[in-house]
Structure formats: structure tokens, C-alpha cells
């Protein structure tokens, strides 16, 4: 791998870090428009993060080093995941180094640290949030792995860049299995990122919350990193979706021209995906927490049906 590959790789990660809050801002803006509210600025998430970085950090009495460490670990894991996902190009060093199963593992590690840190201080809300997060996680992960397995079967490789290249270059065929896992992936994305049918990202201090309950004890720079990591997680999931289902336009080499094509296409895909996400959140109602397993069982069902249909029909 030459120097230019590494530079492109760094560029990709930097882009993910910078674009993630912007994407979150875009989703929030679309949601506000759809709900007839006046929309917050696109840059609002950046302002929130900047404000938090200037504040003085307060740590709960009796918090262990794990509590301080967790934001850095989680943020690092999300940045690493952003490097693994082929957002701009497929022939990049880190992208080539890990396959999709490792990617799911990196995301799981972030989840474990978030849950441990939430339980660390010992408040009721934190423990409750951690339990719910693990409940969602242990149902969403098999579904996500199933989605990855079906995509690997179709393209005969478990490496994400290879899958992307295969799907981008094959002749256009109707693939029912791909449609099934597409639905499954969308459901997993909604559940994993605490979006509406499972959790409401717009509220604090509600008894049914999951994501916010985990972060209650954090303040200042730690909270900023956690919020940024959450935005990055959403960005990462959406980009995994692009890599699997709309792979067209991803640069195969590191030629500047290919990257110049990939970048505006990525922006376009993100704009459409953000609007779609806002639409899903607007038209659906939040489920009761105890209904969340049913929601995720549906995701798993779709993924397994995709697998079976692929095995039977070969498409």
C-alpha cells in the first residue's frame, strides 16, 4: 500500500467525522419540516458539541476509570468502523484489512463499553438504560450478522469492499433476497441508532428512553464525545447500507477522478437517505419497550427469509 492510499484512507475517516453531525442535522431538519415545525440550523449538532467541549467536566462520586475511559473507547471504535466501511473507495488499507464480521465486532465492543459505563456509577436510570441497550443489542446483532452473511453468500466474500465491488459491477438482476435483507437492515438501523419505533431521539428524561438513559451521568467533553460517537454510529450504519444496497459510484482505486465522482454521489445518497429516515420516523409511532423484541424478531425473520430465498432461487 502506497502513501496515497493511506492519505485517502485518512481523508475518508476525517470526512466521516466531519460529516456525521451534519447528517444528523439534516435528518433533524427534514423531520422538523415534515412535522410542520420551524427547523433548527443544519449546523446545530456542531454547536452542541462545541459548547460541550468548553464546559467543565463533572464526574460522579465513586466513578471508576472505566467511566472516564469509555467515551474515548466508544469514539475510537466508531472512527475505526468508519475506516473499515468503504464509503468513498474500496481499495484502501484499513478497509481491506477487516471483514464485515470484524466490523460487527467493533460495533459490539462500543456497545459493551457504553453499557458498562452506564452501570458503573450505579444510578437506577443508567442500569435500566444499559439493560435495555443490551436487550436491543442481543436481538439486533444476529439480524445484522444474517444480513452480512446473505450479502457474503451472494458475492462469495465476507469482506465488505469485495461485496461492494461485486454488487456494483454485476449485471442488473432482480434479487428478492437482497430486498429482504434490505428491509431487515433498515429495521436494525432504526433499532440500533435509537430512532423512532424503538426509542425517541428527541426526548430526555422519559421513562421509555434507551440512548439518553445511558448518557445521563456524562457531562462536558465526555458527553460531547458520546454524542459525536452516536452521530458517527448513525452515519456508519447508513454507509454500511450504501455499501450493501446502493454501491454504485464507489471508487475502486484511488485515482482523483474516481474519488471526485464518489464524493458528490455519496452526498446525494446521504441527502436521500436522511430524508427517508426522517419520513420513516414521522409516519411511525413509537413502540412500547416490550414490543421492541417483536420488532427485532421481524428483522431477523426478514434476514433469514432472504437467506432461504437465496439458497432456493439462487437470486
Amino acid at each position: 500500500m502506497s502513501l496515497s492510499h493511506w492519505i485517502t484512507q485518512l481523508l475518508e475517516v476525517a470526512l466521516a467525522l466531519l460529516a456525521a453531525p451534519l447528517f444528523l442535522g439534516w435528518v433533524n431538519q427534514c423531520r422538523a419540516w415534515l412535522q410542520n415545525r420551524s427547523a433548527p440550523s443544519l449546523l446545530q449538532p456542531y454547536r452542541g458539541i462545541r459548547k460541550l467541549f468548553y464546559k467543565e467536566a463533572v464526574i460522579a462520586y465513586g466513578a471508576s476509570p472505566l467511566f472516564r475511559m469509555a467515551p474515548y473507547v466508544v469514539f475510537g471504535a466508531m472512527a475505526l468502523a468508519a475506516a473499515i466501511i468503504p464509503t468513498l473507495g474500496t481499495r484502501l488499507p484499513v478497509t481491506q484489512a477487516a471483514d464485515a464480521i470484524a466490523l460487527v465486532g467493533v460495533l459490539a465492543m462500543a456497545r459493551v463499553f457504553v453499557a458498562l459505563a452506564a452501570m458503573d456509577v450505579g444510578t437506577a436510570f443508567g442500569t435500566l438504560g444499559a439493560r435495555r441497550e443490551m436487550m436491543v443489542g442481543f436481538l439486533a446483532e444476529p439480524a445484522l450478522l444474517m444480513v452480512v452473511f446473505v450479502a457474503s453468500l451472494i458475492s462469495a466474500s465476507s469482506a465488505l469492499p469485495a461485496i461492494t465491488e461485486h454488487l456494483a459491477t454485476q449485471a442488473t438482476t432482480l434479487m428478492p433476497s437482497l430486498a429482504f435483507i434490505g428491509v431487515a437492515f433498515t429495521l436494525v438501523l432504526l433499532a440500533e441508532n435509537a430512532r423512532i419505533p424503538v426509542d425517541n431521539p428527541a426526548t430526555h428524561l422519559e421513562l421509555t428512553m434507551i440512548h439518553e438513559a445511558l448518557l445521563l451521568e456524562y457531562s462536558a467533553r465526555h458527553l460531547a464525545l458520546m454524542e459525536w460517537a452516536a452521530a458517527l454510529k448513525l452515519f456508519n450504519y447508513v454507509c454500511i447500507g450504501f455499501a450493501l444496497f446502493v454501491p454504485w459510484g464507489v471508487a475502486v482505486g484511488t485515482a482523483p477522478r474516481a474519488l471526485a465522482v464518489a464524493l458528490p454521489l455519496l452526498a446525494l445518497k446521504l441527502a436521500v437517505a436522511g430524508a427517508g429516515l426522517a419520513l420513516i420516523e414521522t409516519v411511525s409511532a413509537k413502540l412500547r419497550v416490550l414490543r421492541a423484541p417483536e420488532f427485532l424478531a421481524t428483522a431477523f425473520l426478514f434476514a433469514v427469509l432472504g437467506l432461504l430465498v437465496h439458497l432456493l432461487l439462487g437470486a
Binding site: Q170, A171, T173, L174, P176, S177, A179, F180, P293, E294, A297, T298, L301, V304, L305, L308, V309, L311, L312, L313, G314, A315
Partner: protein, 221 residues
């Protein structure tokens, strides 16, 4: 992969049928159940038309028309009317938890794909792979009949089973002989009408459409 587009479309329709079966299995509202049955009929009709166009078999156009008239228009209309007159809109909680039923359904799909393998190996049609899906649709409808309590949803399960049979015959041998097809269509129609009368009788006897009342032989209350 070099399968022609019409065959790809047929495979997609087959997958859609399987999906609809699962949607029916998970549905608690009877109104939606009947609508899903109508959609299943429509998908079946589309698949039959496509296959008729692909193979050039005349009689399949007739069976497509029959499907459209009977399963998409008439039976759902009849069921909606019955539903309004009997005022049953919800099934009671099914015997099994919904997620449990779904997982059982997945096992059934695996089983029926295995079951259909020898049949598919013997068949010479281009659509033989879809036989597995047809068997799965039949068994899933059977499962939904087993897990439901209300007579209404059991009838919907029965009709969905007939859809599966029809699809199976279509994908294994390009449809049954015309006489058999007409006979089955007539049978379903008559069964539906008789069951419609039967519903009122059940309700008159037991004040409900819950079929577990039929399980005890005597009225030892």
C-alpha cells in the same frame, strides 16, 4: 447469472407470496388478514399471467381470470361482508406468541424447502425452484389455521392454503388440467358459501365465533 427477466420476475413474485404468508401469520386484525388474502390472490394472478405469457399455454389465461374474479374480488368481498354482519374485527390472542409462531414458521420454511427438493428434481419446468415456496405457503397457512381461534381467520388460512396449492401445481407442471382447476374453484366457492352460513349457526349456538367451544362434545355447563 443469465436467467431471463421474466423468470427473475416470477421468482420475485414467489418470494413476495412467501412474505405475504408470513405477514398473514403475524396479523392480529381480521380486516387486514382479508386484505392480505386479496393481495396474495393478486400476486398469484400476476404470476399466472406471466407464466402463461412465457409458456404460451392458453388455459393458464383462463385460470388467471378465474383467480382474479374469485380470489381477488369475490371472496374478499364476501368475507368483508360477513365480517361486518358478524362484527368480528380482531382475533383473540393466538395460541402461541407471535414471535414464537414466526420462528416456528421459519423452521417450516426450511422443512418445506427440503421436502420440495425431490419434486423439483423431477419437474422439468423452468419454475421448479418455486415448488419449495409453494409447499412453504401451504404449510404456513396450515400453521396459521392451527394457531388461530376464530372461525373467520381459520377460513382465511384455508383459502391461503388453496392459493399455495394452486401455485405449487403451476410451478411444478404449468397448472392442473382445466377440469380439475374448475372443480377446485367451484369447491372453494361452495365451501365458502356453506361456511358463511355455518358462521351464523356457530354464533347463534355459542354467542361467539371462538372455535374452542366446539371442542367439548356435550353441553355439560
Amino acid at each position: 447469472m443469465n436467467i431471463p427477466f421474466s423468470l427473475q420476475l416470477l421468482n420475485a413474485l414467489a418470494a413476495l407470496l412467501l412474505l405475504l404468508s408470513f405477514a398473514m401469520l403475524s396479523q392480529r386484525r381480521i380486516v387486514t388478514l382479508v386484505n392480505l388474502l386479496a393481495v396474495q390472490g393478486a400476486v398469484l394472478c400476476a404470476a399466472t399471467l406471466l407464466l402463461a405469457w412465457r409458456t404460451g399455454e392458453r388455459h393458464m389465461y383462463v385460470s388467471a381470470a378465474l383467480t382474479l374474479a374469485l380470489k381477488v374480488v369475490f371472496l374478499p368481498w364476501l368475507l368483508h361482508r360477513l365480517m361486518r354482519r358478524l362484527a368480528v374485527y380482531w382475533d383473540t390472542e393466538p395460541m402461541l406468541h407471535i414471535s414464537g409462531t414466526m420462528m416456528l414458521g421459519l423452521l417450516i420454511v426450511v422443512f418445506s424447502f427440503g421436502l420440495a427438493q425431490p419434486i423439483a428434481a423431477l419437474a422439468s419446468t423452468a419454475t421448479r425452484n418455486a415448488v419449495g415456496i409453494a409447499v412453504a405457503v401451504i404449510l404456513l397457512a396450515f400453521l396459521s389455521m392451527i394457531t388461530r381461534r376464530k372461525a373467520m381467520s381459520q377460513v382465511v388460512g384455508f383459502l391461503s392454503m388453496e392459493n399455495g396449492l394452486f401455485f405449487g401445481a403451476m410451478s411444478a407442471t404449468y397448472g392442473m388440467p382445466m377440469v380439475v382447476e374448475l372443480g377446485v374453484a367451484l369447491d372453494v366457492l361452495v365451501a365458502m358459501l356453506v361456511l358463511g352460513v355455518f358462521f351464523f349457526q356457530i354464533r347463534e349456538q355459542f354467542d361467539s365465533l371462538d372455535l374452542h367451544h366446539l371442542e367439548s362434545l356435550k353441553e355439560d355447563r
